[in-house]
Every structure is written in C-alpha cells, then in structure tokens.
C-alpha cells in the first residue's frame, strides 16, 4: 500500500526534507552470502552489442532530415556582448536558423566564464553550422576577470551562503590537545571527460517532444524540459538506452538540449546539438578546485580532541558549494569540530557534481594531515584510525544502518603489512612506501523508483523500467535480481530501460544510487510476479510445480508484476565505507611517482554482481590516479582563459599508468536497508585513492605533498622541503 511520509532525501551529500509517497517493502532480505545468481559474477548482458558497435548511443542517432547545431561560446572569461549580428550566419549555405541572447534563457550576453553559450546555429551539416557560428558578427566588451578564490571570498563574491558546521567546543578541544598539526592543502580543477560528449537529439512528433540525450537522469530531463516549455510532463519523451559515460555532469538538460529544442521548434526538423571535445572541456562542468586550511588536535594516545577546517570551493561562475568538509565532519569520532566552507564565485567554468563531489577533495586533505599526526605521535596510521572509529554518525548522532569499516580495516591488514617488505625494496634514488586512507560517502539511494515485470508462457521475463544504465552495468544487475527472485536462468531475463514513455519512474544515476534505489523495486516486481504464478500453481493443485511448468499454461496470457522501492530506515544514516592501501615508488631525483599497487576494501552492503563491482572499483581507482598524478586543467592567470582543452594537454591516465588493483568487498547485507541490503558502489572507490597515494609518498620519502596533482614540480618541492627539515632537525655534530 502506498504511504505518504516526510523524509530526508540525499543526493551526493545534499539533503532536503520532502514529502514522498512510498510503497511498503514487505519482502524479507535474502540471507547473507552468494545465491544462485545474485552475488555471482555475471558478464554484461549488453557486452556483445557494445563490443560489436551495435549498441545505439545518442551520438549514433541519425534521424531523417536531422540538422546539426553549433554553439557560439564566449572566448573570454568575463565579457559582455556589446553587439551581435546573426545575419552573416543566416546568409551562409545550408543554414536554417540562428538564435542569440534573449531567444532562450541559456543564451546570454553577459558571460561569466569562457564557454558560456551566446548564440547557436543549425545547418544541414555540422561543418556548415561551425562555419556559420564563425561568421556571427560580435563585439565583445572584455571585462576584468576575478580568478583568485581567496580574493572572491574576501570580496564576498560567493556562490551560496558560507556553510558553518560546528559541534562541541573547538577551542577547548584544541586547548586539551597534546599535539596540534596544521596544513594547507589544494586540489585542482578536474574534468569529467566522458567518452561520449554531452549531447542531445530532439524532434517534435505531433505535440510530443522527443529528447534523445546522453543523461544520468531520464526523469529529471523530462520534468525540467516540460517545465521550461510549459508542457505536460508526458508530452516530453526522454530516451537514453546506451550511454558513453557519466560522472555527475549529465544530470540536467543544460544549454545544448535547450538549444536543440529551440532550433527544432523553429525549423520543424530534428536537431542534434553535440559538444566537441574542446567544448566538453570548457562548458560542461568540472570538479572544482579547493583550498583547505586544516587543523587537528589530539591527545598523546591519538584521541582526536579538535578538528577544524576552513574550506574554499573555487566553484566557478555558478553551481553549488560541494561538501568538501564532509569527511572532517563525519569520518572520525571527535567531540569538537568546526568547519567553514565558502563557495567562491569566480570567472571560471561552473562546477558540476563529479563522482563523490567534495569528499574526494576533503578526504585528501584530512587523511594526509592525519598521517602527519600519526608520525608526530609515533602511532601506526591504521591504528590511529581505529582508535578514532565512530559507531554512530559523528555529525548528527544518528545510528548507522550498517557500518563495517573495522572489518574493512581488518581485511586491509595483510596489504598494510606489506609496507615493511615494500620499503625494503627502496634504492638510493627510488624510494618505496605504503599509505592508506579511509573512505566515507553516501550511496543508500532512496524512493521512489518502480519496476514492472512481464512473464510469458516461454518462461522468459522482461523487466520494464525507465531507468538509465550509464555504463555501470546496472542493466545486468537488475536482470540478476529478477532472475534470482523468479528462480529462472539469467539468460531468460531481458531488461527494457532508457525510455520515459516505456516504463515507470526510476532513480537518478547519481550519488551511487541506481542499484540501491532500483534493485529493491525490481526484486519487489519479480516477487509480485512469482506470487501470482504460485497462486496459479495452488489453484491447479500443484503448489510445488516449477515456474516453467506453470507458465506453460499461459499461452497468450501474461503475468504482470509491479514493484516499488520502499523507504530508507527512519532515523538512520545510510553510508558506505572503505579503506584503500596504496604502494608507490618515488624517483627522488626526477620527482616521478609510480603507483605499483592499490588494494581496496569497501563496504557497500550486499554485492549483486562481483564482476561489475570489481570493474567499478578499478574504474574509480584509475580515475583517482588521474587526478592524483597527471590531470590538471590550467588557465591563463591573467585572462582566465582555459589552456588545456584537448586530451594531449589534459592528461588522463593511460593503461600504462594503471597499477595492480586488488579489490575486496565486505559483502554483508545492510540489514536495515530495503529488501536487498545493497548500497551503491559508483563513487566510493574514487574517494580515498589520492589520500592513500599521498600517504604512501610520505611513507616512502618523508615528503609531505600538499597539492593535487602531485606533479614533478610538487613532488620535488615536497622532497626539498623534507630535506631542509631533516637538516634543521638533525642533531648537531659533536
């Protein structure tokens, strides 16, 4: 039965209180451990289609009569359009329409960052559209850019209000400390760089607008587009069957979709608006840079007495101030914590969510400084973390629905023990070491989410839900859950997804929420179908008959099951935990850093597909190594213009940069959470990687890195600083 409840809704660390209608979740959880299908490795249902190039992505769509849009974007970090004339563009061959500032909200004449959309053109070919954009006659009034985040904070140029979070008495906590350590840490702008760039293809079919889009949130696109156009929501059909990657920047329709819609409306033709790689690296969001000024106070036995942080998110021109203080607030037991977080509004491209936004950055600073404390107190870093473990949410006293971080630590021990052997392999110039860092993040998902299931006389089942699989393998996980509950082979389950007109509402694929939100709904739908089949068996007088035997009776009749995601446990904090142990080698003369091995142990409740889960862990760690060592979006310090818009200048990791990755999951169902006990794993693996590597570097060399990426420049600086310290600290010669 549906119930109306008041609940907290969380996406990527942001909470809101909402009324939601939820369904009861009456199913008992399966007992812990691998089952017939759930908990056993399954290759992707769509692996062959993808590998053979048959899967149709938004980028592959060619609708009859489709026009191509190109966008004029501000080349300046801060500028006003003094005058614009679209006529020269319209005069060129193949051009069908042109729009500029004022035509739609997303086109502006007041540009606060390089890449802000100003005008757009559509033409028969993309090359014609590009040429037409180049022909648009614009007078730019270039304005002085504000680029320094600290200066923006000082001037009160902020995105949102400063966020002050305090508990206990921070000053008293510092006074009680035997040791106080401080450090300033900086993280850089990181770009998502999904393989498939942001894009939409739209067309009007009668009075319905069809939007084919590379998105993480089919239903959000539907609602936002319908709202903007004043349409009934279901007059917008949103389709995303296959997707070439999404890491947080594809949650909303954005300028390219509204540009395509306006041009399609004006031309009565389908319109594609697909961003180039260079536009992708300017205008589609980023993990913003941060500055973190941190203080930790502790007793001699390692007990934390005070945690303090002043954080600046260099948010860019718009966006939101990510929860960079989250790890300091939540990861450890400490009575006295005070953090202040500013979102600095500067003339740089806006941030967007990027795989555990804030927590990746905040974990780097906190966990690096915690190792400085461990060294000062001469306490083993793993032991120091154990001593400050908390068994309830330290920030709001709520109990956890489930937490197995101590078990993660226990399982990490053999990896941690390797440090003696690793260090012993150091040479005169290549120093080796091992470092670790803890992980905390969300990932519980939530209601609402729905699934239908259809079972035919052939004993095959089709799961129908309008969710998206953004490349994580959730399509396969949903099939496993349905097959398990129905008791039929995995090969007999098809999953139909990716179309708002062909299935019920489904969760956003952000905040590690797809599996924990959708999985319970799919299981409930399968259980509903199974119950109906069992009822037929009872009526037939063969209650023990197999599903296959009963469904044979159906002929053209079908069993239709439906299921919904129940509520999250009331009054409980649902979080994911883990630990990573990194082994590195540092060439102390050239500053080169190799990551040799990363062992990851995460606790995300029940694991549906161990193969998919290990892929997620590997992907998170590889992406983490990228922002730890080589990825750096640079801008010109005078003009604010972006310098690294191509993939030779912006250095993603290559396969040669990938270390040995050992992944392990605690795989204990969260007994309070849904009929599955599963949490999400999309984000957790990227959270502690940078910190673990930085701590391994410290272990290897004694050098304290303070900036990401750990470039040669930063590595050599840290080594010089460590050498100077050692000189000062060395006992005088007698």
């Amino acid at each position: 039965m549906a119930r109306l409840i008041r609940t907290e809704k969380e996406v990527e660390g942001r909470y809101e209180e909402v009324w939601v209608v939820v369904e009861e979740d009456a199913l008992e959880q399966w007992p812990a451990g691998a089952r017939e299908i759930v908990g056993r490795p399954a290759t992707r249902l769509d692996g062959h289609e993808r590998a053979r190039g048959e899967a149709v992505y938004t980028a592959d769509l060619k609708l009859p009569g489709m026009l191509h849009a190109a966008v004029l974007r501000s080349p300046h970090a801060h500028a006003r359009v003094a005058r614009i004339d679209l006529a020269p563009a319209l005069a060129l061959p193949g051009v069908h329409a042109a729009i500029g500032p004022g035509d739609i909200e997303q086109l502006t004449d007041a540009c606060g960052f390089q890449g802000a959309a100003v005008a757009a053109v559509c033409a028969d070919t993309y090359a014609q559209a590009r040429a037409a954009v180049a022909a648009i006659d614009v007078d730019w009034e270039v304005l002085a850019p504000l680029l320094d985040p600290d200066e923006a904070v000082a001037r009160g140029e902020l995105v949102g209000e400063p966020r002050i979070r305090s508990r206990g008495d921070y000053d008293r906590g510092l006074a009680e400390a035997d040791v106080v350590v401080e450090g300033e840490y900086r993280t850089q702008v990181v770009l998502h760089n999904s393989m498939e760039t942001h894009q939409s293809v739209v067309q009007w079919v009668g009075d319905t607008l069809e939007v084919f889009i590379s998105t993480q949130y089919i239903w959000g696109i539907r609602d936002e587009v319908a709202g903007a156009l004043g349409l009934a929501p279901d007059k917008v059909r949103v389709v995303c069957n296959y997707m070439g990657g999404g890491f947080g920047s594809k949650n909303s329709p954005d300028d390219y979709t509204f540009i395509a819609i306006e041009l399609a409306t004006r031309t009565h033709r389908p319109v594609r608006c697909a961003l180039t790689r260079r536009e992708e690296n300017l205008a589609t969001g980023n993990r913003n840079a941060t500055i973190q000024r941190l203080t930790i106070g502790a007793k001699a036995d390692g007990t934390l007495t005070a945690l303090g942080g002043e954080y600046v998110n260099a948010t860019g021109w718009s966006g939101w101030s990510s929860p960079v203080e989250g790890p300091m607030q939540m990861l450890y037991a400490c009575d006295n914590v005070k953090t202040t977080t500013y979102g600095a509004k500067i003339n740089q491209p806006p941030m967007k969510a990027f795989r555990a936004p804030g927590f990746v950055e905040g974990t780097f600073g906190l966990e690096a400084l915690l190792d400085v404390l461990a060294a000062r107190l001469e306490i083993d870093p793993l032991e120091l973390r154990r001593r400050n473990h908390t068994d309830h949410d330290a920030s709001d006293d709520r109990p956890y629905s489930g937490k197995n971080l101590l078990e993660c630590y226990r399982r990490a021990e053999p990896h941690w023990e390797r440090r003696h052997e690793v260090r012993a392999r150091s040479t005169g110039t290549v120093k080796r070491g091992v470092g670790m860092a803890s992980q905390i993040w969300y990932g519980g998902g939530g209601p609402p989410s729905y699934a239908w299931i259809r079972v035919g006389s052939d004993g095959h089942a089709t799961v129908v839900t309008a969710m998206q699989d953004i490349g994580t393998g959730t399509r396969t996980a949903m099939a496993q859950i349905a097959a398990e509950e129905l008791g039929i082979p995995l090969a007999h389950v098809t999953v139909s997804l990716g179309d708002s007109a062909r299935g019920p509402f489904a969760s956003i694929s952000a905040g590690s929420s797809t599996t924990p939100s959708m999985g319970p709904a799919v299981r409930a739908a399968a259980a509903d179908a199974r119950r109906q089949i069992e009822e037929i068996a009872e009526q037939r007088g063969t209650p023990d008959a197999s599903i296959a035997e009963i469904v044979e009776l159906l002929e053209d009749a079908q069993i239709l099951g439906k299921g919904a995601r129940g509520p999250n446990p009331a009054g409980m904090q649902v979080l994911t935990f883990g630990v990573q142990v990194a082994e590195v080698a540092v060439d102390v003369e050239t500053g080169e850093v190799w990551v040799d091995r990363v062992a990851a142990v995460h606790d995300v409740g029940r694991v549906i597909n161990p193969l998919g889960a290990s892929s997620q862990i590997e992907g998170g760690i590889i992406q983490g190594i990228g922002h730890t060592l080589s990825e750096h979006r640079l801008h010109d310090p005078r003009t604010g213009q972006i310098l690294t818009t191509s993939l030779d200048a912006y250095k993603l990791p290559t396969f040669a940069d990938v270390p040995e990755i050992v992944s392990e999951l605690v795989d204990e169902p969260d007994t309070h959470l849904t009929n599955l006990g599963s949490k999400g794993l999309g984000e957790p693996p990227i959270v502690p990687t940078a910190a673990a590597i930085a701590n391994a570097i410290r272990d290897a060399t004694g050098a304290e890195v303070h900036e990401l990426p750990i470039s040669r420049e930063e590595m050599l600086r840290a080594l010089r600083e460590a050498a100077a310290k050692e000189k000062v600290g060395a006992p005088a010669r007698v």
Binding site: P637, T645, T654, F655, R712
Partner: protein, 273 residues
C-alpha cells in the same frame, strides 16, 4: 580543400605536405595551418632503413624495433606518442612538428605566430623552455630530434645536405621560423652514424603518450660524447656546458632538476655501455 598524391617531387608547388598526418591534420583542423591544397608525399619520400640510412618516410613504429637503429633513436621513438600515432607518424614529419605551447596551439597572437608577446612568460609556463627562452618560451617536443642531434645525424633534402643542428634556428624578432627549411624543400633521408653507445631518457607526466617534460639523449660516436635535450628550448637543444646555465621561468625551475638528474644518468649509462 584538395588532396593530391604526388608521384614526383616536381608536383609539390607550394602545397602543404602530408605524410603520416598525425601533426598536419590537427594543425589544419585547429586553424593553425591554412591552405587549399594538400599533397600526400608518401610515394616520393623514401621509406625504410638501410644501415645508417633512414628514409624520411619511415614510421616511428618501424624505427623502434629495428636492430640497425641506434639505441637512443629507438628508445626516443618507443617513448614518443602512442602505438597508433607511431604507426602513422614519419621521422621526417616528427622533426618538423610544432611546439605544444598551449598559447601557440590555441592561436594566441604570440611571438611564434608573429605577435608582440610571449604569453607564457607572464602566464602558465610549467611545461615551457628553460634554455633560450627569452624571446619565446616554447619548448620543442620532439624526442626523435634530440636523439638525432646527439647521434650527429645528417639530413638530405631535395636541395642540400645538412647536419641536423642546422635544420633548426631560434626564432628572432625578424624571423619567427624555428627551422631553416626553404619553401618546397623536403627532407628525404637521414644519415645516422653508428655510435659506440647511446641512450635516451625521458621524463613525462604520465607513463605513455606524453610529450617530454625533459628528454635527454646521449651518444658517444668516434670517442666524442654529445648530449642533447628535448622539451627544454624552442628547438632541440645540444647541451654545451652545464645544465646550470639554464634560465628557468618562475614555475618551471623543476625542469632544471629533472634535466640534471637525467643528464647524469645518461652519461653514466654511456660510461657503462
């Protein structure tokens, strides 16, 4: 735009020359080179390795695994670009590639583009030159050129024969070119004398597919040792004297440390080799 395939060197008449295309195509696409006509020269430029003679059309992939090729050149090829790029890119084209300076690549009106200012000087220059960077701080990206410079290679063009060092010139107020190649002049072959021993070491920002932060080639030929560097000056840089003579900019002094370490190691490797 017209693309033709040349069957003789007389058919080039001012066109842009295409070999592997790994540099030319991006330059055209990004508006850094303009022209109506492109000539594919792969039928008229020699390709292949015969002792010390190397056809300018030979790909980096062919060079990196041929035992006739001196170690420094093989290693410079192996550490350059990616397998896909090395399968296409020719050694002649590699010598003529342009800087990766982001200001130049983004078509800022810098000195190398004929403008009045080197934007890297006051701007973002962590990948830039530490030698001869006064007028223009761009860094020459060719690993291969540094190796050939150390190896004392000679070039044969359709007009002349010249030591590799004479292919390059530092840009000046009066002439912004970084090579001495004349209009219509094509590199046809290289002569790479066999060294007693040689080595190439490269520091980059990831393990593969990156231009050098610093590349160091060292070779001993006829008892004489030559050391040349990639990524440290607007042209491939023959080291005469010490790295201490470098004139780094505020944010690229770390390259001096890296260069010192690699030069020391390269020289040690020669000693052992």
């Amino acid at each position: 735009m017209e693309l033709r395939r040349a069957s003789s060197l007389d058919e080039l008449n001012g066109s842009l020359l295409l070999s592997g295309g790994t540099e030319l195509v991006p330059l055209l696409r990004n508006g850094l080179l303009r022209g109506d006509s492109v000539v594919d020269i792969r039928d008229v430029v020699p390709r292949g390795i015969d002792g010390s003679r190397i056809g300018a059309g030979t790909t980096l992939a062919e060079l990196e695994c041929d035992p006739q090729v001196p170690e420094a050149l093989r290693e410079a090829c192996r550490l350059a670009a990616s397998p896909q790029l090395r399968n296409m890119g020719s050694i002649g084209g590699n010598l003529l590639q342009s800087t990766r300076c982001w200001y130049w690549r983004l078509n800022w009106p810098c000195r190398l583009h004929g403008g009045e200012e080197c934007f890297a000087h006051e701007g973002e220059h962590r990948e830039h030159a530490i030698f001869a960077n006064d007028f223009c701080a761009s860094a020459h990206p060719s690993d291969v050129a540094a190796a050939l410079l150390a190896l004392g290679a000679t070039l044969h063009t359709n007009r002349r024969e010249l030591p590799l060092a004479e292919l390059y010139r530092l840009p000046t107020e009066d002439d912004r070119m970084t090579t001495t190649l004349a209009e219509g002049e094509v590199i046809l072959e290289l002569d790479v004398p066999a060294p007693e021993t040689s080595v190439y070491l490269k520091a980059m920002e990831r393990k593969r597919w990156a231009f050098p932060i610093v590349g160091v080639a060292a070779a001993r030929t006829g008892g004489e040792t030559r050391v040349a560097l990639a990524g440290v000056a607007p042209i491939p840089w023959l080291l005469e004297g010490s790295i201490d003579a470098a004139t780094p900019l505020p944010r690229n002094a770390y390259k001096v440390d890296v260069a010192k370490a690699l030069v020391r190691r390269a020289e040690a490797a020669l000693h052992q080799g």
